[in-house]
């Protein structure tokens, strides 16, 4: 029996585990081995995930499960993504409970990240349904290797999606992530860009995929030059922990040319990055200011757009999905502030 959640299309017949080891065949159906199990749930800034152009300023309930369908040599979450059952603690939480936690912690939306949602797809869809009933926008971070069928479903339940485009060659993907063909990822990016708010993330491994910076920028621009592109400096982790720390200066030098192709290029995953703010593509003024306090993405510290999402300096329209949201706008209503003794 074939699993059709991602392009591996594993045969799970006769108890075969599949690449991600998260599904099995039961009664002629593909079912999750660990439904509704999560390794983390956490309230955080949406910009830290990162989403820079969706619901700016909002508080996100970040959730994630375990497992992955890739084996990226540099994975920074390998202790979760590549862990075996029992190796990492998991919470058993119903979709109702997750949405209830989002309400009680004053969150504005829910995002599945940390690991690949495709490997816990039915659970994720249940959360998405529960979130829809309670009017919580849903987003996710994905490696984009879903089948067309899964992509259609993801597109219908998620408002905003951050897709990782890890390289731009068959050779890179084969050698460093383990998948045979990266064309489905390009196909899914093109498709999702038509129907959803998308942002793209590329982890840069110096001397391995930094030669593709311009090609990736051109690919994104060919779809929509307003798609935000997050470039991460990779830390030496997992199977590449012996690699040197990459050079910020050299990667940034390569990004300089790409900035002429795409207006929203962000460069982070190191403290103090000065490339995490949004500048108006028309007049160049800083219109959304963020700091990188360590980690991916950043924290928004100043939002200057007008109510209709226009630049306050020149009036240019800026692509933002959803409304600017005040960080603590739901704290009072959901009662996490206790009045005292």
């Amino acid at each position: 029996m074939i699993c059709n959640y991602c392009e591996w299309r594993c045969d799970l017949g006769n108890g075969k585990p599949g690449i991600c080891q998260m599904y099995m065949e039961k009664d002629n159906r593909i079912v999750e081995k660990y439904p509704n199990y999560y390794t983390t749930y956490h309230a955080t800034h949406i910009e830290s995930l990162p989403f820079f152009h969706a619901y700016p300023g909002s508080r996100t309930l970040q959730i994630g499960s375990r497992g992955c369908n890739f084996d990226c040599h540099y994975c920074s979450n390998a202790y979760v993504a590549k862990s075996l059952p029992g190796e990492v603690y998991t919470f058993n939480m119903t979709p109702q409970r997750i949405v209830d936690v989002a309400k009680q912690t004053g969150c504005h939306n829910i995002v599945f990240s940390v690991n690949e949602p495709t490997v816990s797809f039915p659970s994720f869809l249940e959360i998405a349904e529960e979130a829809r009933i309670s009017e919580f926008p849903i987003g996710c971070m994905t490696n984009g290797y879903m089948t067309q069928e899964s992509t259609d479903i993801l597109s219908s339940v998620c408002e905003f999606i951050n897709i990782s485009l890890k390289g731009f060659s068959q050779e890179f993907y084969r050698k460093y992530t383990g998948i045979p063909d990266f064309k489905p990822i390009l196909r899914n990016i093109e498709k999702l860009a038509l129907t959803n708010h998308i942002e793209i993330t590329t982890p840069i491994i110096q001397d391995i995929n930094d030669d593709k910076i311009i090609e990736i920028a051109k690919f994104i621009a060919s779809i929509d030059r307003n798609i935000p592109w997050h470039v991460f400096r990779l830390l030496p982790e997992y199977k590449m922990e012996d690699k040197d720390y990459p050079s910020i200066q050299e990667i940034n030098k390569k990004l300089e040319d790409a900035r002429g192709i795409l207006p929203y290029i962000y460069f982070s995953n190191f403290i103090g990055s000065v490339w995490v703010s949004t500048h108006c593509p028309s007049c160049g003024q800083k219109i959304i200011e963020r700091f990188n306090l360590g980690g991916c993405g950043g924290k928004m510290v100043k939002y200057s757009l007008l109510e209709d999402k226009k630049c306050p300096y020149c009036g240019a329209q800026i692509e933002i999905h959803g409304e600017y949201t005040q960080w603590n706008s739901r704290d009072e209503s959901y009662g996490i502030r206790n009045p005292g003794c």
Binding site: T39, T40, E87, R97, Q104, L235, G272, G295, N328, N338
Partner: protein, 391 residues
């Protein structure tokens, strides 16, 4: 005005600590002798990462460089590796012993080379993790403020939750906000931020709930009512960890002192002679988090700070939160030992530590060098300069 240099090896930026605003490289504020000196120190000593075997040596090497270049009268140091690695990395007893041994070799190396009179404090033992206490299935919200894993805040409890607390085997006690206030008489801000309930884990247990790390735990913080202190100062009385600041102040005019804090090391592992010092107040035992650091540095028990355990700190992480690079802290600790020495006694100080922001927050020294790690990811090295003019 305090500044920080955020260094990511061959690239750095200078920011104002209060607003986080980056300063242009040609700003006169960026090009002072103190900032130049700090930049030279971090350029020569990029943090190797929490998992690197060199991170223990890094503390000593960085402190030695500060001593050579700044020559402070007071040195504040934190060796965090036993607490950090003991928690998340499986270690055989031999490997653990060699880690502890390496920490003390490095402490001794610093003392022998520099001649500072040491006060060495083992902040507490690590014990094997027996089990997690999972709060995710309750009706209200449980929260722990890392790294304080023995105390969880609980918000919006239902009657059902309260009756379930009693049945959870790992819970030592549950304390309502009112009971806490009546016993501890905390500061106003602390009181305001207290959760509805504070839940205390028994020794060997650790909470799993909103905000906890998904890394697998192997050891957790012991419940140590007393912790070991060694000092080369004669005739000193140190009854509690809140006496350490006073001990430094009383003796610093006569000698150079290094106050050295060791995470994850208690009486089980502290070699040689030591005295015991009280590490608790009523039923509260310090947890090697901001509670321990701030109590040592400010000479006051934890409830006089603004930061209760289990406080939902993220709710106050607004856009314009001050001191954005200081995590949940919104202003420097005015009572920190370094600030006291600088402003009240005119004594120079420096700090080096592998406990990220706690190094400069609790050290409060003229110049502080620390790692920028979050979730054990190595995002760079930071120098915080509280004293911007060299004297």
């Amino acid at each position: 005005m305090a500044y920080a240099i955020l260094d990511v090896r061959e690239w750095d930026t200078v920011v104002r600590m209060d607003t986080g605003e980056p300063l242009p490289m040609n700003s006169p504020k960026v090009n002072t002798p103190m900032l130049d000196m700090a930049r030279q120190v971090i350029k020569g000593h990029p943090y190797p990462g929490d998992f690197s075997s060199k991170s223990i040596e890094w503390v000593t090497d960085t402190a030695l460089r500060l001593w050579k270049t700044y020559d402070p009268h007071f040195m504040f140091m934190i060796y965090a590796q036993p607490g950090i690695l003991g928690g998340v990395k499986y270690m055989t007893p031999d490997r653990w012993n060699s880690l502890v041994c390496r920490v003390f070799q490095n402490v001794n190396r610093f003392i022998e080379i520099t001649g500072y009179i040491p006060i060495i404090v083992g902040l507490g033992d690590m014990v094997p993790l027996k089990e997690y206490i999972d709060l995710s299935g309750l009706d209200g919200i449980g929260y722990i403020r890392m790294p304080n894993r023995r105390y969880a805040g609980f918000y919006n409890p239902t009657d059902r939750d309260i009756s379930r607390f009693d049945r959870m085997p790992g819970i030592e006690r549950t304390v309502s906000k009112c009971d806490f206030i009546n016993l501890f008489e905390p500061s106003d801000v602390f009181r305001e931020r207290l959760p509805d309930y504070l839940i205390v884990a028994k020794e060997g247990y650790s909470f799993k709930t909103l905000g906890t790390s998904s890394r697998t735990g192997y050891k957790t913080i012991a419940k140590n009512e007393a912790i070991p202190v060694y000092t080369g100062l004669p005739n000193t009385e140190i009854n509690s960890l809140v006496d350490l600041k006073d001990t430094v102040i009383k003796n610093i005019n006569h000698q150079r002192i290094a106050l050295i804090l060791l995470d994850g090391i208690g009486t089980k592992d502290f070699p040689g002679e030591y005295r015991l010092c009280n590490n608790s107040l009523y039923w509260y035992t310090y947890c090697q988090g901001d509670d321990s650091y701030f109590a040592v540095s400010c000479g006051e028990h934890f409830q006089h700070s603004d930061y209760p355990p289990g406080w939902l700190d993220f709710t106050e992480d607004f856009e314009m939160k001050t001191y954005p690079y200081d995590g949940f802290i919104e202003k420097p600790l005015s009572g920190s030992i370094g600030n006291y020495l600088r402003t009240k006694m005119g004594i120079t100080s420096a700090a080096a530590g592998s406990r990220s922001t706690f190094t400069h927050l609790s050290g409060g020294a003229d110049i502080c060098i620390e790692c920028c790690c979050c979730g054990l990811y190595n995002y760079g090295t930071k120098a915080v300069i509280y004293k911007t003019q060299a004297s």
